[in-house]
């Protein structure tokens, strides 16, 4: 046997209650589905209300003449096991008399009598009206997922499955209080994983057996952050890389000429300063490279803040040159010197390593031809600098003849997030950077 609740229906948009004027069946009477069960009268209409299911009228909760709010439980039907037809959404219990469509979805098998917001009932079993019809979504389940905009928004933010939450609203609907209470009670439930961007510490690193004689060294804080961040970045971004070979001969000449005077002003002029300057000049022209991904949106950064990866004996850190596009070459060179020095002496301030919009990593000093860096989240691109050294290179003279010359060459590699940066975007940016480096204006040094 299964029990089906019969509710006072809502007969019009402004109608909050109805009077049960007459019972058409007595307790114990058999009723067919859709057979008139009782009569109601409201401000607007009088109507016969059909039975939501076939069965026997088991209980009468509201007597003739009583006025009750809509959705109040008025009776209970008992159905034979399997005799209850599954709720048919196309045939709600609306009477034949024309009534305005109710704003609230109704159900044949609701569980909830009206509850005040202050007195939300405890969790209800997710009861099905009839056993054995597994696989068929009950009316209650349908209503659960038919939730309000706010509840859906909260559910999406916390990745909660609404149908798992016991609802205290009409017909078991999940209310704001229900979902907030659920989230509060189960903050670490596996159904509610937090965004990987906000919880990089959630990265799991599989355990590996140590062999005899091995040294096991627990990670430092900086190593842990780096490890988690790298795994997260590889998982989150669609990494692609482009390689551009750049002729640094002109930069090398300019650097050689200016190095002395820069040094007198306390600044070490490096190739990296020229590269950072070339990126800074071009990032504003290519805003998609100076961006971040947030959900299903792209954030185009208003500022150009270039992070410079610094290798320390104890790990990696990326201090940031703020408003790099507003600095001259010497300004950038000085900032790189300053940030590097303070990184090595552990004097960086929290603000120094925040709000980067693009990153450059320069392992070239160690000698690699090129490398493929991992994007520094939530940015969308990172430039890697290979070794800058003299190599044979085919060059064309103005008269069209070609020869092999000794040139100062280096590889620039950029990893970028293909979710938002397409190959053409990245290569146009790199081509502009390359051109600026090869034609670096003398007046800018």
């Amino acid at each position: 046997m299964a029990r089906v609740d019969v509710l006072m229906p809502q007969m019009g948009e402004s109608i909050a209650e109805g009077t049960l004027s007459k019972w058409l069946k007595k307790v114990g009477d058999p009723v067919k589905r859709d057979e008139p069960l009782f009569e109601i009268s409201t401000d607007k209409v009088d109507a016969e209300i059909p039975a939501p299911a076939a069965g026997v009228l088991a209980e009468i909760k509201v007597q003739e003449g009583q006025t009750v709010p809509v959705q109040t439980l008025v009776a209970v039907l008992e159905t034979e096991k399997g005799a209850a037809t599954p709720p048919a959404p196309s045939k709600p219990e609306s009477p034949k008399a024309a009534a305005p469509p109710p704003p609230v979805p109704k159900t044949e098998t609701p569980k909830a009598a009206p509850a005040t917001a202050a007195a939300a009932p405890a969790a209800r079993p997710s009861g099905r009206p009839a056993d054995g019809d597994g696989g068929v979504q009950t009316a209650e389940e349908r209503l659960r997922t038919k939730s309000t905009p706010l509840v859906r928004k909260i559910a999406a933010e916390h990745r909660v499955d609404i149908s798992r939450i016991p609802g205290s609203g009409y017909a078991g609907r999940v209310t704001k209080q229900d979902i907030l209470g659920y989230i509060e009670r189960a903050p670490t439930a596996p159904t509610a994983p937090r965004s990987p961007l906000t919880a990089p510490s959630g990265v799991a690193h599989p355990s590996v057996e140590a062999w005899p004689g091995d040294r096991v060294e627990p990670w430092s804080k900086i190593r842990k952050i780096t490890a988690d961040h790298m795994v997260m970045s590889k998982r989150v971004s669609a990494h692609v890389a482009s390689f551009f070979e750049v002729d640094f001969t002109r930069v090398a000449q300019l650097r050689g000429k200016a190095k002395g005077s820069y040094s007198e002003r306390g600044v070490n002029l490096t190739f990296l300063a020229f590269i950072a300057k070339a990126c800074a000049e071009n990032l504003r022209k290519h805003p998609i490279v100076n961006a971040a991904v947030s959900g299903d949106s792209t954030i185009y950064r208003a500022d150009v803040n270039i992070g410079i990866a610094v290798a320390l004996d104890w790990g990696l850190i990326v201090p940031v040159i703020k408003h790099a596009d507003e600095l001259s070459l010497i300004g950038i060179a000085r900032a790189i010197n300053d940030l590097g020095e303070r990184a090595r002496t552990k004097k960086l301030l929290p603000d120094d390593i925040q709000r980067g919009t693009f990153t450059i990593t320069n392992p070239g000093g160690f000698g690699p031809f090129a490398g493929i860096p991992i994007i520094n989240q939530p940015q969308v691109a990172i430039l890697g600098v290979g070794a800058i050294e003299k190599r044979p290179k085919v060059v064309s003279a103005p008269d069209g003849t070609e020869s092999i010359a000794i040139r100062t060459m280096g590889m620039l590699t950029m990893s970028y997030d293909h979710r938002v940066v397409d190959g053409a975007d990245a290569d146009r940016f790199l081509a502009d950077v390359k051109q600026l480096l090869q034609e670096f204006p003398e007046g800018a040094v």
Binding site: S14, A16, E17, P69, V70, Q71, P103, V104, P114, A115, T116, A117, A118, A119, T148, P149, L150, V151, R152, K153, G169, Y170, R173, T175, K176
Partner: protein, 326 residues
């Protein structure tokens, strides 16, 4: 501090503005010698003279037209409609002429049209109307609708000082029922375009104005006591321009909204408010936006029928209770 009625606060506001600025004058039917049908302007002729308190013929179109002309010429007219129901006689002047004057001719029209509105007083169909929705749809007008004595005074003063035409609706059921302590000697100015939280609450918001604001407050009190439901009540005060920020703020706070107005339902202001909430705060809703309004019929004379047609406190309680449990 002195206890003043809504009507007295309005009278003080008018009086103070006429004392402050001799460009301000009043015109309307029986406003002078008789002192106005509700005695709002009693004693004004004696103080300010017949040139500043002008009895007019029974023609609302002429009253509004004369006021508009005076406003163009640099005066600050306050035109009284003896009952606001008859503002429909001046509908053409207000919508076609006054509201468009700045746009068409670059003419400033700083004038106020005020008058007693609303029911609950057995006034029947010609002495109980709420015409705000008809003018809400007219760009170029402002509409204020105070519910408290302080705002009755503060809004009439702000309306007179405004550079644009303002429709000032005063609910006659509030005239002598609402009493409030107001400071003496202090300038009270209620800014046009700002709603006010009349009662703080957590679970549900009622948005209302005018007489139904007080019925909403009564309902909120009952719901708090009987159901433990905490109801926030927002008094719009100005209907045009509408305070969207205040409306969205209360929706974001409580996530459920009941809009209550005395005007009839179809095409009433509640529909406009609901549309704005839908556009600006859809994802913050935890239930349907509901309305309690008058039924769509002319207001009957018979007391029992008037009670049935107009929104009553019990109607608000029922609807709010339903929405709270949604």
């Amino acid at each position: 501090m002195a206890e003043v009625t809504f009507l007295e606060a309005l009278r003080q506001g008018l009086w103070e503005e006429m004392e402050r600025d001799d460009r301000v004058f009043i015109l309307g039917e029986d406003v002078g010698l008789y002192g106005g049908a509700f005695k709002v302007t009693e004693g004004f002729t004696k103080r300010f003279g017949e040139s500043r308190v002008i009895d007019t013929p029974i023609s609302e179109a002429a009253i509004v037209g004369a006021a508009a002309g005076a406003a163009h010429m640099g005066l600050r007219p306050v035109a009284e409609m003896q009952f606001i129901d008859f503002i429909s006689c001046a509908y053409d002047m207000l919508t076609n002429y006054v509201a468009t004057a700045r746009y068409r001719a670059g003419l400033s029209t700083p004038m106020v049209v005020r008058g007693p509105c609303g029911g609950y007083v057995r006034g029947g169909p010609f002495h109980s109307q709420n015409p705000e929705a008809a003018f809400l749809h007219t760009p170029g007008l402002k509409i204020v609708y105070p519910a408290t004595a302080r705002d009755a005074k503060g809004l009439i003063k702000s309306s007179i000082r405004d550079e644009d035409p303002v429709l000032y609706l005063e609910h006659k059921w509030l005239y002598r029922r609402i009493k409030e302590q107001l400071p003496e000697g202090e300038e009270i100015l209620t800014p046009i375009g700002q709603a006010r939280i009349a009662r703080e609450g957590k679970h549900l918001s009622i948005i209302s104005y005018g007489a139904t604001l007080w019925k909403s407050l009564e309902a909120a009190e009952q719901l708090e006591k009987a159901d433990g439901v905490s109801v926030e009540v927002l008094d719009l005060r100005t209907l045009l321009p509408m305070d969207d920020a205040a409306i969205v703020a209360t929706v974001r706070k409580t996530n459920k909204v009941l809009i209550v107005h005395e005007d009839t339902r179809t095409g009433g202001i509640a529909g406009e408010i609901a549309a704005r909430i839908n556009e600006q705060a859809f994802e913050w809703l935890d239930g349907p936006i509901m309305r309690v309004t008058a039924h769509d019929v002319p207001l009957p004379y018979a007391p029992t029928l008037e009670d049935f047609v107009l929104p009553q406190t019990e109607d608000i309680v029922k609807a709010a209770r339903w929405l709270a449990a949604y």
